[in-house]
C-alpha cells in the first residue's frame, strides 16, 4: 500500500477512536453549567485579550454568570453592541445600571493655562511629563498630547482647545483613558453628576492662579454656598461628593475662576432646533389667541366684507 495513504489512514483511525472516546466521556463527565454561560460566551468576541480584567472570555462569561452586580460593558473589543447583548441575556437592560462616564478634571484651555515652554519632543503625555512635569506651568493639568485619545478604543475622547474632552455619547466608562493619563486627571464618575470640579491643582491659591486662569484656588466660596454639604476643600482643591451633590449648580455660579462647571447649562445647541422651537411657540400662541377670541374674529369678518363691497361699488361708480 502507498505509505502516504497508509500513514493518513492510521492517523485518521486513531483520531476517530479518540473522538469516540472523548464524545462518550463528555456524556459521562457532563457537568451541568449555567445555560447562560454558553450564550454569554457566544456573544463575547473570543479575543481572550484580558481587556476586561479577567483571564479570558471564558473567565469573564463565568464571572458574569456568578456575579450579577458585574458590569456587562467591560469588553473593550465588543464595545457597546456586545454589552447590550450580554445585558439582554442576563435579563437586565444596559440602562438599568447606573451609567458612568469618564470625566476630565482639567479646564486648562490654551488661553487659560500658562505655558512653561515650547514642547516639541516625543508627542506623548508620558514623555512630556518627564520633562519638568510637562509644558504647562501647572504640573497637574492636561498635557494635551493625547495619551488618552490613543488609549480609547471607542473614539470617545479628543483633545479640544488644549484639554481632553469626553464625547458623552460614545464613552463607555471602560477606564482605559484614566489609566493612560500620567497626571491621573480622568475619573470614572456617575453620569448623573453634571456639576464637576474641572481642576486637579493642589497648589495654594496664588500659585494655582498664576499657573492657570481656570484653576481652583481653594477659596471655599463653593463650600459656603452649598446647601447640601456636598463640597469639601482639601489640599486647596474643591471636591464634590457625588452622593450628596444635587446638581443645583450654585457652586458653579459663585466660583470666581470657573473651575466648577455646570455641564447642564450648555446642552448641545442646534440652531435649527431653536428655529423650530420658536415656530412651534409662535404657532401655539396664534392657536391660543384664535381659540380665545373666536367671536371677535367672526365679528370682524363681516365688517371687512362690507368694506370690500363698498370699495367695489365705489369703483363701479367711477
Amino acid at each position: 500500500m502507498n505509505p502516504i495513504i497508509l500513514a493518513i489512514l492510521v492517523v485518521v483511525a486513531i483520531g476517530l477512536v479518540a473522538a469516540c472516546i472523548l464524545s462518550f466521556a463528555s456524556k459521562v463527565f457532563f457537568v451541568p453549567v449555567d445555560e447562560r454561560f454558553a450564550l454569554l460566551r457566544e456573544e463575547l468576541p473570543g479575543a481572550n485579550c484580558g481587556g476586561c480584567g479577567f483571564a479570558g472570555c471564558d473567565d469573564y462569561a463565568n464571572a458574569l454568570v456568578e456575579d450579577s452586580e458585574l458590569s456587562c460593558s467591560k469588553c473593550p473589543v465588543g464595545g457597546p453592541a456586545v454589552a447590550e447583548k450580554l445585558a439582554e441575556i442576563l435579563g437586565k437592560s444596559a440602562g438599568a445600571e447606573e451609567k458612568k462616564l469618564a470625566v476630565v478634571m482639567c479646564n486648562g484651555t490654551t488661553q487659560a493655562a500658562k505655558k512653561l515652554m515650547q514642547y516639541s519632543d516625543i508627542k506623548t503625555c508620558k514623555a512630556a511629563k518627564t520633562m519638568f512635569g510637562g509644558m504647562n506651568v501647572c504640573p497637574y493639568g492636561c498635557l494635551s498630547l493625547g495619551d488618552c485619545v490613543a488609549a480609547c478604543e471607542f473614539d470617545a475622547i479628543h483633545v479640544e482647545d488644549g484639554v481632553a474632552t469626553v464625547d458623552k455619547e460614545k464613552c463607555v466608562a471602560c477606564g482605559a483613558c484614566a489609566e493612560a493619563c500620567p497626571n491621573s486627571l480622568i475619573r470614572i464618575s456617575p453620569a448623573k453628576n453634571v456639576v464637576i470640579v474641572k481642576c486637579h491643582n493642589t497648589d495654594k491659591g496664588g500659585i494655582a492662579r498664576k499657573a492657570c486662569d481656570n484653576a481652583c484656588i481653594g477659596c471655599r466660596k463653593c463650600t459656603t454656598v452649598c446647601k447640601f454639604d456636598a463640597i469639601k476643600v482639601e489640599d486647596n482643591l474643591a471636591f464634590i461628593d457625588p452622593e450628596k451633590c444635587k446638581n443645583c449648580g450654585a457652586c458653579a455660579k459663585v466660583c470666581p475662576t470657573g473651575a466648577i462647571h455646570n455641564e447642564r447649562k450648555k446642552p448641545a445647541v442646534d440652531p435649527a432646533k431653536i428655529e423650530a422651537a420658536k415656530k412651534a411657540a409662535a404657532a401655539k400662541k396664534a392657536a391660543a389667541e384664535a381659540s380665545k377670541a373666536p367671536e371677535a374674529e367672526s365679528a370682524k369678518a363681516p365688517e371687512a366684507e362690507g368694506k370690500e363691497e363698498g370699495a367695489q361699488t365705489a369703483k363701479t361708480e367711477e
Binding site: A7, V10, V11, G15, A18, I21, F29, F30, V31
Partner: protein, 193 residues
C-alpha cells in the same frame, strides 16, 4: 528488577530532572509556579497525564513498529496525548472542580507540553519494557512535581519578603531563580551511571 526500577525513579527525579536538567516543560514550570497550591496541582496533573500517556503510547508504539510505521511516532503520540488531556480535563471538571479552577488556562497547555511527549518518546528510545516505561514516566512526573514545588516555594518568598530592584521583579528574577535551581541540580550529575 526492583533495583533497576528504583534507579530509574531516582535518576528521573534528581539526576535528569525534566525541567531543571533536561529543560523540558519549561512553560508550566515558569507559568504555574506562582502559588504553591496550583504548582502542586499542576505537578500532580502532569504526573498523572505522563503515566497515562505512557500507558497508552507504549502499546501503540509496539503496534506501529510491528507494521513498520515507527516514523509516525511523533504525530500519533501528539494525537493520543491531546485526546488524553481532554479526557483528564473532563474528568477533573467533574470530580475536582477546585483544582480545575486553580489550573485554569494551563490545563490545556499540558496538551502541548513537551515533557509529556518527551517522556513517551524517551521510553521508546531507551527500550524500556512496559513496567519500566510506566515507572520512568512516574519518576519524571515526580521530578516535575518536585521542581514545581521548590520553584513555587522560592517564588512565594521572592514576592513578599524581599526588597529587590524594580527591574528584577517578575520575569527576570524568576528566570534567575530557575537558572540557580538548575545549577544546583547539576550537582546530582553522575550519581546514576
Amino acid at each position: 528488577m526492583l533495583n533497576s526500577l528504583i534507579v530509574i525513579i531516582i535518576s528521573m527525579v534528581l539526576v535528569s530532572n525534566y525541567p531543571l536538567a533536561q529543560f523540558l516543560g519549561i512553560c508550566p514550570f515558569l507559568g504555574v509556579s506562582k502559588e504553591l497550591d496550583s504548582a502542586k496541582g499542576m505537578g500532580i496533573a502532569v504526573t498523572f497525564v505522563m503515566v497515562l500517556a505512557t500507558a497508552a503510547t507504549w502499546p501503540i508504539m509496539q503496534v506501529l513498529s510491528k507494521f513498520n510505521l515507527a516514523y509516525l511516532q511523533t504525530v500519533v503520540f501528539i494525537l493520543v496525548i491531546a485526546a488524553l488531556v481532554q479526557l483528564v480535563e473532563m474528568f477533573m471538571k467533574k470530580s475536582m472542580p477546585a483544582l480545575y479552577k486553580s489550573l485554569g488556562v494551563f490545563l490545556p497547555l499540558i496538551t502541548t507540553n513537551c515533557a509529556v511527549l518527551g517522556v513517551c518518546i524517551k521510553n521508546i528510545d531507551n527500550n524500556y519494557n512496559y513496567i519500566e516505561a510506566l515507572v520512568n514516566s512516574f519518576g519524571a512526573g515526580l521530578g516535575f512535581l518536585l521542581a514545581m514545588v521548590i520553584m513555587a516555594g522560592v517564588r512565594s518568598k521572592l514576592v513578599d519578603e524581599s526588597r529587590m530592584p524594580v527591574s528584577f521583579r517578575g520575569v527576570p528574577i524568576t528566570l534567575v531563580t530557575a537558572a540557580i535551581l538548575a545549577l544546583s541540580f547539576m550537582g546530582f550529575q553522575g550519581m546514576v551511571s
